[in-house]
């Protein structure tokens, strides 16, 4: 898999240093190719480096992060932006969602958990590609597997189950995930479960326990924990925040 090229934008050098050194880019098939400390510099770097991912602080000098995204979106629609925002800039996030940001994370950044964010990007990238590449003929095994996962979210799923269903070895399937999407199987599964959970939370009135069950968590306590780790808020907070925002 091709290495993803990353541009870091933050006006605080320490935060850029943190990103550079505290997160294992290598292990996530990424490479930091540049840094920028203000809006203008970020625009120039995006144009010249053409990164795949831009980690973008919102509150930066000269031109704020959202403006930078707006300006470069038109020229480079394929770039994934990850917004890093202070907790109190949450109103920005709402705007960010309108700009179709791929993901956002809150400061203070927990570098060890930043991997989840990169995994999410890769999965989004993969899903986007498989939608576009709707070619006829022989279907790639990974597409079938991911479709199967999507349809059987509520059930207990493991590599073993998949192996039986698709007559492939568990190890091979695991490698498929790594090579085709760039994330491991469990990260993928958790990601789509959380995506489904978010959809259910916002579009239905199901209780947390019911949502938990529908996305394959028998114990809603576990579900709440996993959700919190992935989204930074608990399921009920997530639902409430969104409802408040849309008022």
């Amino acid at each position: 898999m091709k290495k993803l090229r990353v541009l870091l934008v933050d006006d605080e050098i320490m935060i850029r240093e943190g990103f550079k050194h505290l997160f294992d880019w290598e292990a996530h098939d990424c490479l930091v190719v540049g840094e920028a400390s203000d809006g203008m510099e970020a625009l120039a770097q995006i144009d010249s480096l053409k990164p795949d991912i831009v980690i973008m602080d919102i509150n930066i000098p000269i031109m704020n992060g959202l403006k930078v995204i707006q300006c470069s979106r038109a020229k480079h629609p394929e770039i994934a932006f990850v917004i890093v925002s202070g907790y109190d800039d949450f109103s920005y996030c709402r705007e960010a969602l309108r700009l179709k940001i791929t993901d956002y994370i809150l400061k203070p950044v927990n570098y060890e958990e930043f991997g989840t964010c990169i995994d999410n990007l890769k999965i989004a990238l993969f899903q986007q590609q498989s939608e576009e590449r709707d070619e006829p003929g022989e279907e790639r095994p990974i597409v079938g597997i991911t479709r199967y996962l999507q349809e059987h979210l509520a059930e207990e799923i493991s590599l073993g189950v998949l192996a039986e269903e698709f007559h492939l070895s568990g190890q091979y399937i695991s490698q498929l995930f790594k090579s085709e999407i760039g994330v491991n199987f469990l990260a993928y599964l958790t990601n789509i479960r959380m995506e489904k959970a978010k959809k259910l939370l916002l579009s239905t009135g199901l209780s947390i326990a019911e949502v938990s069950e529908q996305v394959g968590y028998g114990d809603y306590r576990v579900f709440t924990k996993v959700f919190k780790k992935a989204e930074g808020v608990t399921p009920s907070q997530y639902r409430r925040d969104f409802l408040e925002d849309s008022k």
Binding site: H21, D88, N110, I208, T224, S236
Partner: protein, 434 residues
């Protein structure tokens, strides 16, 4: 007539006692009022004496009569000057504009007092009673009118910028001044100046200077000082802490980084104090950050949570958990060298209530302490406004719960069977948090 002066003196004497014994903020307004009270009391004494002497012209030597009369009128002019001064300071406080007429008022005061000392006094003798007339008294009326015009002018010119309460006080003062002076001018034998002065002083006292207002001012002042102390920009604080955290992690010190992360979390969460109600999840997040830090400081301290996750969205008053837990640590577990456990549980009670329990395995209440705490929490609204001390935290929690959720909810303590105490918080469960 002497009886009226005695009654007025007693009334104002009582006012003065209550005013001087009250603790108050130091301000120009209050010191002017203090001076006014003192001068008015002296004036009423001279008033009483004069009422006697002027009606005994044949037995009291003229020299004494004149002296007391000049003292009586002298203090009266001083009082009207002070009335004006008080109104002027009040208007200045309200409008923020300087007092341009002060110089004039002071110059006139000197002129008036000189006139009072030097002008000849003439006494009119009538069957209804004696009084003074002539140039000396005319001059006195002139002085009252002068200060009356200054005060009224200030009020009318700044009418829109003065708040209702202050406006009322000034208007009452001016009206009483006008009515009493006019009546006295028409009926020379009424001798009601003392009554007018007492009424004006009482109006100021009741509307602007009463003990409740003084206490409120004082509390506000102390609060604003406390507030100032906490004015270090919290964003600056936690951004800096975050920078230190990253540096620590870059240096390979994971433990320090982790601790700083909790501290940053704690500050970040406690910055959200502008909301009265938050979710139980928010409260627990703050509490967890706090407990992580405490447990690190005291490794033998343990913390256990048993929160019904369906209650995560329940609305609770902001910042109620941390003070209660802190209280358990400081008064229960500290005595045991921070060896022990705090269990925090939240569960639904009945259909529409929520109970949070903070149970510790600390040293428990000293004999009689539970009753004292019970009493304090029960009569939470009658506790003197203390700004420091141990119980301020839990008292504050109790007050906010009662205020925000209703009087039937609140905080109470029980003793555990096997040592330690449990704090119970009972709250309403809003409809949306199912």
């Amino acid at each position: 007539m002497l009886r009226m002066e005695i009654a007025l003196f007693l009334v104002l004497g009582f006012v003065a006692y209550s005013y001087f014994s009250a603790e108050k903020k130091f301000s120009q307004l209050h010191s002017t009022f203090s001076m006014l009270l003192a001068v008015v009391l002296c004036h009423l004494v001279f008033d009483g004496i004069t009422v006697y002497t002027v009606n005994h012209l044949d037995t009291v030597p003229l020299f004494l009569n004149n002296t007391f009369h000049r003292l009586f009128i002298g203090t009266m002019i001083l009082i009207f000057y002070l009335f004006y001064q008080y109104i002027a300071i009040l208007v200045e406080e309200e409008t923020g504009k300087p007092r341009p007429l002060d110089g004039l008022a002071r110059v006139y005061l000197v002129v008036a007092e000189l006139g009072n000392m030097l002008l000849p006094i003439h006494y009119a003798v009538t069957p209804q009673g004696n009084y003074s007339d002539g140039i000396h008294v005319t001059f006195c009326y002139l002085s009252v009118a002068f200060y009356f015009l200054l005060g009224t002018g200030l009020l009318l010119f700044n009418w829109k910028e003065i708040r209702k309460k202050e406006k009322t006080a000034i208007a009452i003062a001016c009206t009483v001044e006008l009515i009493v002076t006019t009546l006295q001018g028409i009926n020379h034998t009424w001798l009601i100046s003392g009554m007018g002065i007492t009424l004006i002083t009482l109006a100021f006292y009741l509307i602007l200077e009463n003990p409740d207002i003084l206490r409120a001012e004082l509390t506000e002042q102390k609060m604003s000082m406390l507030y100032l102390k906490s004015q270090v920009n919290p964003h600056f604080l936690y951004n800096t802490l975050d920078t230190i955290r990253i540096q620590a992690q870059l240096n390979g010190d994971k433990k320090v980084a982790e601790l700083l992360m909790h501290l940053v979390d704690f500050f970040r969460l406690s910055v959200k104090v502008d909301r009265a109600m938050v979710t139980l999840d928010d409260e627990m997040e703050l509490l967890e950050a706090y407990m992580e830090l405490m447990c690190y400081r005291y490794p033998e301290l343990q913390c256990e949570y048993d929160i019904d996750p369906n209650l995560g969205g329940a609305q609770v008053p902001n910042f109620i958990m941390q003070p209660i837990v802190e209280n358990s640590l400081l008064h229960g577990l500290k005595n045991k060298g921070y060896r022990g456990k705090v269990t925090i549980a939240a569960r639904r009670v009945g259909e529409d209530q929520l109970e949070i329990r903070v149970q510790d395995t600390g040293s428990g209440f000293a004999p009689g302490k539970l009753e004292a705490v019970d009493k304090m929490l029960h009569f939470y609204d009658r506790q003197p406004a203390k700004l420091t001390g141990n119980s301020i935290g839990i008292l504050n929690v109790q007050k906010r719960i009662k205020l925000l959720c209703g009087r039937e909810y609140g905080l109470w303590y029980t003793e555990n069977e096997f040592g330690g105490v449990t704090a119970h918080i009972r709250l309403p469960l809003a409809e949306e948090s199912k």
